[in-house]
Amino acid sequence: MKPSAFVHHAPRSVEEALAVLAELGHDGKVLAGGQSLIPILNMRLAAPGHLVDINRVAGLDTVEIKPDGVHIGALVRHAQLERHDGAFAHLPLLRQALVNVAHPVIRNRGTTVGSLAHADPSGEMPAVLALTSGYVDVASSRGTRTVAAKDFFLGPLESCLAEDEMATGASFGRFPAGTGTAFAECTRRHGDYALAGVAAALTVIDGVITAARASFVSVTPTPDVLDLSDLLAGIAPQDCDWAQASDMAIAHVDPDTDIHASADYRRMLVGVLVARVLAEAAFNATASAATDATGA
């Protein structure tokens, strides 16, 4: 399965890339990691006349730890972010989710910003962006803007990026002190797309839950956040049976049936995963509180 012909552009700077994109309009596609795009091209499911290969653009491969979160450039590979100890310390959810993205070798090349731009409902990182109230840096020759997660994903495989726009980076927000996070997904085989996945952040202050949020993989058309705070606030984690949270999540999601699993089964998985993930997040919350307390 060989791709159709295309003109290859290899800009060296963001400005150059944006200038090319401005000229090309809908016939140009940005190539970063290529782990999602190139299979599509190989199967001739798409045949853009031009590829804007940004792999040589300078300055896009940094991971920055900022007080309010973790900021990554468009060329940060999943593996790079996964291994980044600073990012893990600041926002453990990143690594917790990233180890579920495809296989390690795919993560060596695929970029996290690329997977955000791809907006696959089965992608793990869009769910993480949503849960962390993150945002995407968008640029075009017309200027730059930041788009919050809730506005970035318009539909399955559809982001808000205009034809001449490129995502140059993204920022995942930090959670307040006392928050534990967890991520879990169910797949048919190791490394496959999730049948269902859940990311959760749960804040415990003085032994009781003050906030709880979850976002989902593969069971909503775009990543969104389910706020469970009202349901769980004031309860001590060890007294929680999470069942109501599961029910609320099951009512919230909207899975499809496909050849791998039915919608009903996915809903059931969501219920099971929410309980598991909230419990784990709660455990991590109290563990990190203990660590913070000892000043470690």
Partner: protein, 177 residues
Amino acid sequence: MSEILRTDVEPLVEITLRVNGVKHTAAAPTRRLLSDFLRHELRLTGTHVGCEHGVCGACTVLFDGTPMRSCLMFAVTAQDHDITTVEGLGQPVDGAEMPTMSPVQQAFIECHGLQCGFCTPGFLTTITAYLKENPDPTETEAREAISGNLCRCTGYQNIVKSVLRAAEIANERGDSA
């Protein structure tokens, strides 16, 4: 920027890569996948193609030392980078037909880690890189490390054994895998 050589078939660009330590230049269309460029423009047929959608892993090569799917990269993107293929894993020996086997290659032979051999190059490169970072894996870790490559012949039992044996051999030899 690559030089574009126009022909009446399809525009070609000159692509230069370092493969197994040797600089190669060849002309190919921009859409030439790295896997095909290695195999056909450079005639290094050790890297194999099983699916062209990134799932089977037979095409895995080392890109600046890191394993990546060569079927999911264009040769033109790999320009000026260092590629290691299965042909570059062993140590060449002057005057000998066959290079000395690397610890991973040797382990596969000892442990019957291959049958038809088609998926093998992808495992060898992946495991070579893996052992550099994790020189002493447990059996569980070894199995996890190879769980991104498909094999239809071996049932993976002996490939897991090969990972562990390769770690041993590298240790015995006092060098890296």
